[in-house]
């Protein structure tokens, strides 16, 4: 059964439209990440689901029940705020119990739920502290605990990891994944960090410019981006996009010519592409390898090297000024300014039509 259903949600602040006709259906127990840059509307959508904002139009249903007219506390959702929003004058125990007391849950039940959450989150020894006496990571746990004790149907996480330092963020990410296994509820997480979205979510909802750009499993989003925005936003470093024109040959598959004159044979079906109009070719670093000058698909000049240890990212400029990123071995001897050849694996390349829509290589089965 579907857990959350959004249908045609629309929201404007005055004349500024922030969400335009957004629809989405979530499976039971699914973990969905709303991924997008600031201003894409992802936080507003989360707040509409929570009831902290009202949609101008559209419906929100949770487990089949319409919730968009209900007050936030009666929707069966729990939220973890970006800045935790703990009550500073209450102890950890009171923070977690506050919502349950308001809902008139019996005292022994409250105690049992708080104890259980504290055990799961390993904050049993902190229950009588106030938030001000705790570290950021501990406060984060309390914020999660405050959500867990409510036994919600849906967890809403607003940038839950953005306030933690890098090491703690990695650990909390793993813990979130574990908590998620133990809890019978669906999760929505808002984030602008694609690594968070890719590692935690079952499906990613990529948002930009008031709309959902693509919904899909993490690898599907990565391998088959619906449009140039998704292609550039997901993946690090970003996919290189270069103008290309259709060339002769290649049989059923499109063969394209780059600005520099080099030709790349893709495995994108020619008949799916628009008959005319400018194309763009999309190349991820792993599709481009470094060769001797003249030996690759085209030549380029190294402008920047990023040594990541197991591999080296080579940022290059093609003769026509286009930029492309290639991958080389970890112990690459290249220097900035070197002339290199780029071997492009056309079989994996993406093509984007004049409208930005993505066309992908046919799976080589």
């Amino acid at each position: 059964m579907a857990s959350l259903e959004l249908s045609n949600v629309r929201k404007a602040y005055g004349d500024t439209l922030v969400l335009d006709d957004v629809s989405l259906t979530m499976e039971a127990k699914e973990f969905v990440a709303f991924l997008g840059p600031s201003g894409s509307g992802k936080s507003t959508l989360l707040r509409i689901i929570a009831g902290l904002e009202t949609a101008d139009a559209g419906e929100v249903r949770l487990a089949g029940e319409r919730i968009d007219r209900k007050p936030p506390g009666e929707r069966g959702v729990a939220m973890v705020f970006q800045h935790y929003a703990l009550y500073p004058h209450m102890t950890v125990r009171e923070n977690m119990a506050f919502g349950l007391r308001n809902a008139r849950v019996p005292k022994h039940e409250i105690d049992a739920r708080v104890a259980e959450a504290a055990r799961v989150l390993e904050i049993e020894s902190q229950l009588d502290k106030k938030p001000g006496q705790m570290s950021g990571g501990q406060r984060q746990r309390v914020a999660i605990g405050r959500a867990i004790v409510k036994h919600p149907k849906l967890f809403l996480l607003d940038e839950p990891l953005s306030n933690l330092d890098a090491a703690l963020r990695m650990r909390t990410r793993v813990e979130l994944a574990q908590i998620r296994q133990r809890v019978e509820a669906a999760f929505i997480m808002v984030t602008h960090d694609q690594a968070e979205a890719m590692t935690l979510a079952d499906r990613i909802v990529v948002m930009n410019d008031r709309r959902i750009q693509q919904v899909g499993a993490p690898m599907e989003i990565y391998a088959r981006p619906a449009n140039t925005f998704v292609a550039r936003f997901v993946g690090s470093p970003a996919m290189a996009l270069a103008p290309a024109t259709l060339a002769e040959g290649g049989g059923p598959f499109a063969r394209v010519r780059l600005g520099s004159g080099a030709e790349v044979a893709t495995r994108v079906r020619r008949d799916l592409l628009p008959a005319n109009g400018a194309l763009q070719i999309g190349l991820r670093p792993e599709m481009v390898s470094v060769a001797a000058p003249g030996a690759g698909t085209c030549d380029a000049e190294v402008v920047l090297l990023e040594r990541l240890g197991e591999r080296t990212l080579v940022y290059t400029r093609l003769p026509d000024g286009q930029e492309a990123t290639a991958e080389d071995k970890g112990d690459s001897r290249l220097k900035v300014g070197d002339k290199v050849g780029l071997a492009i694996d056309g079989a994996a390349a993406h093509l984007f039509g004049p409208d930005g829509a993505g066309h992908h290589a046919e799976a080589a089965e």
Binding site: G51, L52, G73, A78, A85, Y87, N102, G132
Partner: protein, 291 residues
């Protein structure tokens, strides 16, 4: 400069220290010295030890004036604090209307005590006063606020509340703006009613502001003077004579400067004791409530 303290640094604070000693420390000590002397308008006076204090302790007029002062402060401070908090809650919105009303409520605070008491004498006057007219329109006998010993302190309290509302309201508004909005959102998701949100979120968050307002207003209202001097002259028959008015009459009416100084020192110690005990009573809890 190494190791030893550099005396040249003192030069930088010297002008301030000089001025500070001249206009604060010296008068304070001089007042203390005066209180141990019998001084009148003519002649230098002579040392009498604690005689002024003994006389003060046995002076029924001073005792009454102290009682009046505390009664007025007890009428003013709680009402003022609650009213200012309610006003701040009502006006804590970004709208232009709220800003205008905030300005109107604050405007009384910039008036001088002379104008305020003048306005309120017109309001309170039994014949032709605003309240008197309202009373009459209901067919009741107008109340003689300023000449009835039982009504004069409440009348002064109302005047003072009207006059002093602006600053505490502003302090509460500042306190309210400090409360993070997401805490209210968390409370909404925690299914807290408005009433519960107010008592469990807003009031605890404002705790320090409430303590500050109560302490400031207590210290200020225990020195209440202008209102009773200008509205009633302490009357009728001393029913509105406050401690500072007693001081003023003793010093500048009867020119008993030593005795007045003793009263001033006594009042200073009383105010200090009251505010310090308020601080002590509330200080520990509010330190715990700190984020």
């Amino acid at each position: 400069m190494k190791g030893e303290r550099d005396w040249r640094g003192l030069l930088f604070v010297a002008p301030f220290m000089l001025l500070y000693s001249l206009i604060l420390v010296f008068p304070l000590l001089r007042g203390l010295w005066l209180s141990l002397n019998r001084v009148d308008l003519f002649g230098g006076g002579h040392f009498v030890g604690a005689a002024n204090y003994v006389r003060l302790a046995n002076d029924p007029v001073f005792a009454t004036s102290l009682a009046n002062t505390f009664e007025a402060a007890l009428m003013i401070v709680p009402v003022l604090t609650i009213l200012a908090l309610l006003l701040a809650l009502a006006l804590n919105s970004a709208g232009r209307g709220a800003a205008l009303i905030r300005g109107i409520f604050f405007s009384s605070a910039v008036l001088s005590v002379t104008i305020v008491t003048l306005i309120w004498r017109f309001v309170l006057a039994p014949d032709a006063g605003l309240l008197g007219e309202i009373w009459k329109s209901f067919g009741w006998e107008p109340l003689a606020f300023l000449s009835d010993p039982g009504l004069v302190l409440p009348a002064i309290a109302i005047t003072t509340i009207w006059w002093s509302l602006g600053l505490p309201m502003l302090l509460f508004l500042a306190g309210l703006q400090q409360i993070p909005q997401d805490m209210y959102e968390a409370a909404a998701l925690d299914n807290a009613s408005r009433w519960r949100t107010f008592w469990r979120i807003t009031v605890p968050s404002l705790r320090r502001t409430i303590v500050l307002v109560v302490m400031l207003q207590t210290a200020a209202q225990l020195q209440i003077f202008g209102q009773s001097q200008l509205m009633t002259g302490g009357g009728p028959s001393g029913a509105s004579r406050t401690a500072v008015l007693f001081l003023f009459e003793t010093a500048f009416g009867r020119w008993e400067l030593g005795y007045a100084s003793a009263a001033a020192e006594a009042l200073f110690l009383i105010i200090l004791a009251v505010t310090l005990s308020q601080y002590w009573l509330t200080g520990r809890q509010s330190a715990q409530g700190a984020r």
